[in-house]
Point group: C2
Chain length 403, copies 2
């Protein structure tokens, strides 16, 4: 008898038919002699609907009232799923975050889980019940409802799997698993059977779907095995797990592209210490995150600073940058929406020099110009013109797939 | 400085504009130097939407999952209203039922309030906050969310007014108060300034809108003054209060009609003891409530039993009645949808004989045939053909209004 936590996303519970299918899947797992704890999200679009209602009524408000409002979405899903399982003749025990309780800090709308008391859930499982828990929400030590921010449902599931000592945490969504590249771009992309936490973190950070970054970080910290799989198929997906000796044999585990970034270049800055810091601090102060950063010093004592931000932040970031650039007496600021980021990720890079060089060679050979580069121990990302995105993914996948 | 509980119904919070208006009204009351506690319902139609979702997903289920689901509607209202008040520069403290806590029994979907702990709300009021509480919901002693059934929001408000020792409990809806008759039927109907609990109970039982029966019962028991008023006007409405000496001077306080009943007649039943009980028990067993009951014994030792049920129960009730009637060897069963009930209510009846006789005379004089009669100490109801409803209300209002 194993114990499993299953997390279903909002696309799995949009219609009564889908809810019934999810209920059947849960019951099948229960009848396979498993203790089953289910974490469920609000139906797709519901949380956005609540957020929109809040914005229409009183723009710009947040805090505990806001969390109380937007946590209503999971409540509906939990109620419906529990009703459905009960109507199929099984015992379901529904829990909202505060009922478990899932204790978080008081950082409303992006709270972090501090502790989970497993007592009630363990009791219910012992009595043979299927436990349904609302994801994305908790309660702080003052008794206010909190929410964990986007993707918080995955974090709830992994944290529950940890405290309940579950064998694995299954994260169901509309993707079949993690692939060596997007199958829509590379027809010969393969599903990765097993991937390390660090690789998965890099892939998710660079745009891969299937599981949220905070959940992976939590899983890594507490060594929880995540199974990323599809709610529309019974095929197994991808295990995200502690790294083992076989993993380092693969140079590049996955290739991922992201078209959601844009580039800002500040050209001809008089080269004094602290100029980059000045621009980047101004952006950070308005909550704009910068991803890739490149600085060159040209011959005339003038520097060029180029960096990437999310496309949705581009207009705001350009305005702020132009203001500081004027103060710094820079020559000009150029904003460019037409870039994309292509990344290769693999544990094997740690022990093999020359992976980045090979990547640049392959791109150059295919006439793809590199605009920015950033690297980590197990990842190389390049910014290129977005028209070349799919080509770049294909040639890189071809170049690295047999290594 | 007074303390007041204000309850707003679902029609007051259907749009962002309405929510803003309600927020302004609450703030006005707060600025009039009142401690304000607000009880709010789900927006009109929202609870029905949730119930429908439950029925679509798994028909016929109830219990704790169901209450958890349908209590999500008030949660949204509480969150939005609290956000709105905060955005207007005031401190709002939102509470769901379990957060107060409002402790109920475990009778899911029609729970009764057992106790309310006023500690947190008293603390918030002392700190100058406006307190917003979700109506209609509570928590049982096992920690499950419960709901109080339709109209439970009014009961929440009155119970809170009691434990908080508020000066009055204002129940806002889309009616201006309680009228001597429906102003749409009698153009000269007047708003009643003050009415006793017992009269209000009778009027509400016979179909008057403005405040729910359970709330009136609770108010009577704990001597809470209810102010029934409109959320669309600042005019004062009707006070529902302990009876005083002036009230008995009025023979008939109000006249009310109800078209939601239907009649079933079982004719030619061999007259043995227990036949009426047999039919009525069968109906009660399927949760059908019977309102008026009349039994006549005819000369040939055969009895006729006539009773009224809610129109929505008529088909089901007719089937059950026909089955039992066959067993009892009754001659026939006749169902009739086309009836209405007209009632006159007044404390003064207690000390004045002949009010019923006068009612019947007035109806007869206007050629309105009476099909059934039921009376209490302060009420006379008659069932008539529904085509005569408005006529009956008008002639009775005219006959009794100067008395």
């Amino acid at each position: 008898m194993a114990r499993v936590v299953q997390k279903y996303g909002g696309t799995a519970v949009t219609t009564p038919e889908q809810i019934k299918k999810v209920a059947q899947r849960i019951i099948d797992s229960y009848n396979d002699n498993n203790d089953v704890v289910v974490v469920i999200s609000a139906k797709a679009g519901e949380t956005n609907r609540l957020i929109e209602m809040a914005h229409e009524t009183c723009p710009g408000q947040e805090g505990c009232e806001y969390d109380l409002l937007i946590s209503a979405g999971e409540q509906v899903s939990v109620g419906l799923l529990a009703l459905c399982i009960t109507s199929m003749g099984y015992t379901a025990r529904p829990y909202l975050g505060w009922q478990v309780p899932i204790i978080t800090d008081s950082c409303h709308s992006k709270a972090s889980i501090e502790t989970i008391d497993p007592t009630k859930i363990n009791r219910d499982l012992k009595l043979g019940a299927i436990v349904i828990v609302a994801g994305f929400q908790g309660i702080d030590r003052d008794g206010s409802i909190t929410t964990l921010g986007r993707g918080g449902g995955d974090a709830s599931a992994v944290a529950l799997a940890h405290v309940l000592e579950a064998e694995q945490c299954e994260i169901y969504s509309d993707v079949d698993g993690i692939f060596s590249a997007d199958p829509d771009i590379c027809s010969n992309a393969h599903k990765i059977e097993k991937i390390s936490y660090d690789e998965m973190l890099e892939l998710a950070s660079q745009g891969a779907r299937g599981v949220q970054i905070r959940a992976i970080e939590y899983a890594k910290k507490h060594n929880v095995t995540i199974h990323v799989r599809s709610s529309f198929s019974t095929a197994s997906g991808t295990l995200v797990t502690r790294e083992d000796s076989t993993m380092e044999g693969v140079l590049v585990t996955g290739i991922v592209s992201d078209k959601n970034e844009a580039k800002i270049a500040v050209l001809g800055i008089p080269d004094k210490p602290g100029t980059a810091a000045k621009i980047l601090t101004a952006l950070a102060d308005t909550d704009i995150s910068v991803d890739m950063i490149v600085q060159n010093v040209s011959q005339a004592g003038l520097a060029d600073l180029t960096f990437s931000v999310s496309k949705s932040d581009l207009d705001k970031a350009t305005l702020i940058t132009e203001k500081i650039a004027t103060e710094l007496q820079a020559r000009e600021v150029i904003a460019d929406k037409n870039i994309s980021k292509v990344s290769i990720v693999g544990l094997g890079m740690r022990n093999h020099a020359g992976v980045a060089a090979r990547m640049f060679t392959v791109l150059a050979y295919n006439n793809i110009n590199i605009q920015m580069i950033s690297t980590s121990e197990i990842k190389v990302s390049v910014a290129i013109h977005e028209d070349y995105t799919e080509l770049a993914v294909r040639v890189l996948h071809e170049a690295f797939r047999t290594s």
